[in-house]
Amino acid sequence: HVVRKFLGLISSHNIPVYLIDPLILGLVNKDIEQIRSSPDGPSPECKYFCAPRDFTTFALLDKTWKHEVGLFRTAEKMGFQWLKIINKDPRLDGMDDLSGMEIPLHYIFKLASHAIHLVVFYERSGNYLWHGPLRLKQHMDRKFVPFRKLHFGRYPGAYEKPELLHVSIDDLKVQIPKNPSSFLEEMSHSRFLECRYREARAFFQLYPDGASLDAVEFRIKAKSLLHLAALTLNNLGVKFWLSSGTCLGWYRQCNVIPHSKDVDLGIFIRDYKAEIIPTFQKAGLPLKHKFGKVEDSLELSFQGEEDVKLDIFFFYEEEDHIWNGGTQAKSGKKFKYFFPKFTLCWTEFVELKVHVPCETLQYVEANYGPDWKVPVKVWDWKSSPSNVQDNGVWPVDEWDNVIQIY
């Protein structure tokens, strides 16, 4: 039926699409062993593609095809109606004053009552794939298909580059992600936030970037430290996000704040792994201090190149809020920093695909108060944050464990 026709169309134009339809991949996943072992085996009935639905979703890597108009002419001849959704190229969005051509983000091919949703993926700096949001422009036919039932396009998304597998299902040859279940898992957390480049530009107009040599050097060091930290944590499979000053830098100016002097990351305590410390040490980042313990207020600090330090704060989830702890070494005083609940989104920062809280504004405001837009050079982590509360003192007999300084 429609899928078969569509696959015929794209293969006649040599366009390497792959199947990302969550419904079908879900079905396929159940039989994945069998499908993998007999990639060419005939299937007795139409088991996957005939499942009732309005759409079938495919992905297309932008760089693997030339934007040939021929495809659309052939499609029309075959009876397809098609719709193309274009928008600004986010890869140029961060760039001062560049305006490129708009790029295609989504295609929809409709035939009778079924439609093919073709999502265009772009490679971006940070070695990941990105797809854009689906936004209709004024003149577009809003009833072309029931747009809100689409599985992709409500938000932009970020994905790893998938390994693909050639399979034959329901007698149709298609490519699918090699591991459908991990793709589906990835899909559920794929929402991507673009940096607020426009606001960042406005910020720099108000507070011009000190192009001092120190600032340049610090940015280079902070970037390489962040790259190393991300590599290490990703290898360990520990999910992390940009926190505190690093998060503020991303949100406010799409860059490292040059006077911040460290790199801050957040990790949910449930994702804590004992290997974190030894792995960082092996990666060349010695432990500088460890405050608190897994059960309470854990905080790690590693020494990066020269005087740049990597702070990892562990976050504890409660019913209606999330918090992390702080410890003053000389007095044993404890502090608690409160945040409203948040989820994680992907973003791109210094050529890295990293997590940030999706509800970034609330997160930043909790930490830095309503005046977060104004740069502050003097910052006391014990009193400046607007979400800090005293949290008692560590019992003296625990100090050896909860206050470790190297």
């Binding site: 140029l92 760039m95 001062d96 560049l98 051509m101 490679e123 940070g126 004024q138």
Partner: protein, 659 residues
């Protein structure tokens, strides 16, 4: 340049003031009306937006949240273009053309399409080409026919304009001094009755259709050598033809659609818009076997020189192994015509709002372009950087494909460049030969991503520093002793005559005689010997084999080098320390090669060809190769000419910076 001096005897433009007042009044009324119209349209638009928003909100409740946050970034809604000229069926254009000593203007249907009253520029014959069906301006040129050769350029241009186009001419200041008979007869053939008799400081306006009727001509003779003819104002009507008649009837293909779009918009590109036998816009050169640079992005840095860009892209797209999908043209400014050229060839183009001025503007444009290139092609390890005024050799990509692995593996390399600063017709010989040089030639080069991202980008000079990007890249703080690989015979050719630091004389002296490879598929020789240590072995071998020239002779004389072919000769010049280029500069001068600053050296050694022999120059004692000098030989010392030098050096250095 006497004629530029303000002449107190010429009356101020009182005569025209009634006209101007009337014109501006009219324009104000028009502006007012336009304002009202725009206001109404905007109001309508807002209503529509509000309505649509309402519909959206209700229908797509699920999307609501995102709509909120995305709205800041969605300027689409406001971007709706309001057509400025509502389509009407008017078939007649009102054309006004004004010619005078200090001002020219052309207005089409009340819209000023040319206005030049700047002092000390815009002298000569201004030409405007209009589309005969739409009345749109397709080309605007000025030919300073007071100066030599400009009339030839004008003839060339007029010949390229398609039949049927409307041509408008007007003279500012002086346009006859070097207007030769050929040019006059071309103007005559267009229907001008005055052109053959145009003389010193005459004022002249003319409107006609190429190969067709004349719409009007006005002329004011200069009464005396020291005065100008009275200003002339020509008002006439031009009858538009149908769009059908104004277009060629090429077969309907994707390529021809692009061609049609281009040819109905701009003029002056010659055969690409020819109806009968248009020149191709797709070239399909042979692919390269084992092309190592197929996936390397190519950034073409351009300004507003669309004709240059056109020539450049033609040669680039004709080079074997080119991958059009990897090409991005970066245009410095919101210029339409360069973008039209980019679209004609089906390439992608990016426009850049200019930041800063002059050299700093170029520098910021480079930075934005390089950053964007690596953003758009995040997988790329390299980028090829080209400029709009270069011809690209047919084996450009083959040359890079054979050498790029060196840039990847040898950390002592800074770049690969297609340009040999010393590669002139008489000094370059071997298309398969490569050198290592301590300078960074630019003009078609390959940049390593890690070099850019880790070193250059973070430190790139900020707009307020009025630095040249290439001079900055050549500074020791950036180059850090690394070298570039260059070919003996350049794989690019610098044809630009008009440019920031360029002029005709400079181009003639330093670029015109540059050798440019035209041989396809050159197999490079000894690529491995270009690696850091291997190159030293190679140089020692060469020097060992080289015959020492007679140092008693004058090195500037042809007879200094014997009449042989294919031999290797060496000469020793005085070079007290690493930065002593006194003798070298004099030698370069008399050999007629690049002498404005020091280029092409490697540890005090220069390699070039003379009379088809490899010719090595070693600076003694600074060069480590000085040990090869026989003790009997005294290094040649050449004294710089006394004084005067200072006066010459200043403009020379300024000019050298661009390249």
């Amino acid at each position: 340049m006497e004629e530029w001096k303000p002449n107190p005897t010429v009356k101020p433009h009182k005569k025209r003031s009634w006209y101007l007042a009337w014109k501006y009044k009219l324009m104000n009324q028009r502006a007012l009306r336009k304002l009202c119209q725009t206001g109404a349209v905007l109001f309508l638009l807002v209503t529509v937006i509000v309505n649509i928003k309402l519909i959206l909100d209700t229908r797509r409740a699920a999307y609501e949240e995102e709509e909120e946050s995305a709205q800041d970034y969605d300027d689409e809604m406001l971007n709706v273009e309001v057509p400025r000229h509502p389509v009407n069926n008017k078939k007649v254009l009102d054309v006004e053309v004004y010619s005078s000593r200090s001002k020219v203007y052309v207005a089409v249907d009340g819209t000023t399409v040319l206005e030049d009253e700047a002092r000390e520029q815009g002298r000569g014959i201004h030409v405007i080409v209009l589309n005969q069906a739409t009345g749109h301006v397709m080309a605007k040129r000025v030919f300073d026919t007071y100066s030599p050769h400009e009339d030839e350029a004008m003839v060339l241009f007029l010949n390229m304009v398609a039949r049927g186009r409307i041509l408008i001419f007007t003279i500012k200041d002086e346009g006859s001094f070097h207007l030769k008979d050929t040019a006059k007869s071309v103007l005559k053939s267009l229907g001008s009755q005055v052109a053959p008799f145009l003389s010193w400081r005459d004022m002249w306006t003319f409107v006609g259709k190429k190969g067709g009727e004349v719409y009007g001509e006005k002329h004011a003779k200069s009464p005396a050598l020291s005065t100008w003819g009275d200003p002339v104002l020509l008002k006439t009507e031009v009858h538009l033809t149908s769009v059908e008649d104004a277009e060629c009837h090429w077969p309907d293909t994707e390529l021809n659609r692009r061609r049609k779009r281009f040819c109905s918009k701009v003029e002056g590109y010659g055969s690409v818009c020819s109806c009968k036998d248009p020149t191709p816009i797709e070239f399909n050169p042979d692919p390269l076997k084992d092309n190592k640079v197929f996936d390397v992005p190519v950034a073409v840095i351009a300004g507003n020189r669309p004709n240059y860009l056109y020539r450049m892209l033609r040669s680039l797209l004709s080079a074997q192994g080119v991958n059009p999908q990897m090409i991005t043209v970066f245009i410095d400014g919101y210029y339409e015509e360069p973008m039209d050229v980019v679209e004609l060839f089906g390439l992608s183009g990016i426009q850049h709002t200019p930041i800063s001025i002059k050299n700093a503007r170029v520098s910021q444009h480079y930075k934005a372009s390089l950053t964007a290139t690596f953003n758009l092609f995040p997988d790329a390890k390299f980028a090829v950087v080209l400029e709009e005024d270069l011809d690209i050799s047919v084996d450009f990509f083959s040359f890079l494909s054979q050498s790029i692995h060196l840039l990847e593996e040898d950390e002592s390399l800074y770049c690969i460049s297609a340009w040999n600063d010393q590669g002139y017709e008489h000094t370059a010989e071997d298309p398969s030969l490569l050198y290592r040089v301590e300078t960074m030639p630019g003009l078609g080069w390959v940049l390593r991503k890690s070099l850019y991202k880790d070193e250059l980008e973070p430190k790139w000079p900020t707009p307020e520093k009025l630095w040249d990007w290439d001079m900055w890249m050549r500074m020791p703080e950036q180059r850090k002793g690394r070298e570039c690989i260059i070919p003996d015979i350049s794989r690019s050719y610098h044809f630009g005559i008009v440019g920031l630091n360029m002029n005709g004389y400079f181009h003639e002296a330093y670029f015109k005689k540059h050798k440019f490879n035209t041989v396809p598929n050159v197999q490079l020789k000894n690529v491995e010997s270009l690696r850091k240590d291997a190159y030293e072995t190679e140089i020692h071998r060469l020097l060992g084999e080289a015959e020492v020239l007679d140092h008693n002779k004058n090195p500037c004389e042809d007879s200094f080098v014997p009449d042989t072919e294919g031999k290797v000769y060496v000469m020793f010049i005085k070079m007290e320390q690493e930065a002593d280029f006194t003798t070298w500069t004099q030698l370069a001068k008399c050999l007629h090669i690049w002498d404005l600053d020091v280029r092409g050296n490697h540890k005090g050694l220069w390699r070039l060809f003379r009379k088809k022999n490899h010719f090595l120059v070693v600076g003694v004692p600074a060069s480590p190769y000085s040990s090869k000098k026989p003790s009997s030989v005294t290094p040649i010392y050449m004294e710089p000419p006394a004084k005067e030098e200072g006066a010459v050096a200043v403009p020379a250095v300024a000019a050298a910076e661009q390249t």
